[in-house]
């Protein structure tokens, strides 16, 4: 931690110096969801259930994309996928 600042120098309302998006919480992950595009029917249930907003729809590529910078590997998407298109794979040590 850098030198602590005084109350006149810091943003009000407890706003951190950098936004939460700068902390890549994906590093907390133990299991990584891996999507098999050939099994995926684009129903987007994974998008609906993802509690972190890490699953998005890439319209140009016609596929579901997982943001590994923020996915914490909770496995809800894999559990909810009706086609078992998502596999939870142990992260490399």
């Amino acid at each position: 931690m850098s030198e602590l600042k005084g109350w006149k120098e810091i943003p009000i309302a407890g706003i951190p110096f950098k936004p939460g998006t700068e902390y890549k919480t994906g590093s907390w992950r133990t299991f990584k969801p891996v999507l098999d595009d050939s099994k995926c029917v684009r129903c987007l249930l994974c998008f609906v259930y993802c509690p972190e907003g890490c699953i998005t729809w890439n319209e140009t590529e016609n596929r579901v994309v997982i943001d590994y910078d923020f996915c914490k590997g909770c496995g809800i998407c894999a559990a909810e996928c009706p086609r078992q298109a998502i596999e939870m794979v142990l992260e490399a040590a």
């Binding site: 602590l4 109350w7 810091i10 009000i12 309302a13 407890g14 110096f17 936004p19 939460g20 700068e22």
Partner: protein, 413 residues
Amino acid sequence: MTAITKKVEQKLLGLNGDEAVARAIKQCNVDFVAAFPITPQTIIVERFSEYVANGEVDTAFVCVESEHSALSACVGAAAVGARAFTATASQGLALMHEIVYIASSLRLPIVMAIVNRALSGPINIHCDHHDSMAERDACWIQFYCEDAQEAYDTTIQAFRIAEHPDILLPVMYMMDAFLISHTMQNVWVLPDEVVKEFVGYRKIPEVEIPFYGKVPFAMRPNVPLTLGPLDLFDYYYEHKMQQQAAMERAPDIIKKVHDEYAEISGRRYGDGMIVPYKVEDADIVLMCIGSTAGTARVAADLARQEGVKVGVLRIRSYRPFPAHQVRELLKGVKVVGVLDRCGPYGAIGGPLYVETCATLYHAKERPLLVDFIYGLGGRDMSVQDLRGIIAELVDVMRTESPEPTLRFRGVRE
């Protein structure tokens, strides 16, 4: 209220306090209202939902399932930059309690009307100040109104004060249950366009974030900010100090907005912080908040006809507390009777008494101070009761002894 020359043509309407608040909210360009009806605040929500249903306002109105949700929704709305309003009373305010602190610490300029109602138990719907006194230390600006007209005027001023870039604190303003909320009164109402111009639209101030530089202080997807994160021993204190500093800046801005409003409306409430009545030459002063001030002025005038010099000091802004003015105004006063519509329960007196005691401790000449607890659960406070209090204070002045300093007025033995 002191009337000065009216600059703007106004309409005189028969409104109760709740209706006066609803009407003011309708004129204030409010973006978002979330509220849950609770007696005696219900009429505010009812009237305002009528305005929404009739298309008279473009406000987003959310019917929530509780007061905790009402204030939480306002926190969310204010965080994205909306002008947010809610209203509640008693148990509703108590249920909001944790969000009350969150709103002020997130520096969200929410405006909330409170109709002062006793807290359970036993359950009671009538007036006393237990509910808002419980939120006294939550770093909200707190105004206590004396009548429906002041409730209307304070609503309009509240947005300007809360949203001022040097303050950014929420404002709650109080009306006594039924005595103000349900009592029909002649209320002068400003034209819509005049109020709209006075309050304007909510301006989003900038905040300096090391990662970005200067950015708008509002949640925007393209400039993500984190609001309400964990803040431990290394920075929590600094953020609380910022709240304190904002509160210290508040009196000047409250007075300035009050002056500007007086220019267009012709109505003044003292200097916006404190409202003295015949205090300059008084030997005895009755100190109070809320609707009792009017009754106290009548009692003071009657006492003066009998040669007892009585004045009335009404605190309009309870937070920030006008300590300096109290000290100045009470110079030379011999006896002060503090009227508390809230129980002391183990303290040396009610909240206004404790505040006044502490304020006067550093004064060179201190008046004798007596606390009168009154009106709990809506027990009436008549001119006759106040004349009885004045008689007791005359005794205090004669004997030079304030004992007992804590007295209970109007309770049966």
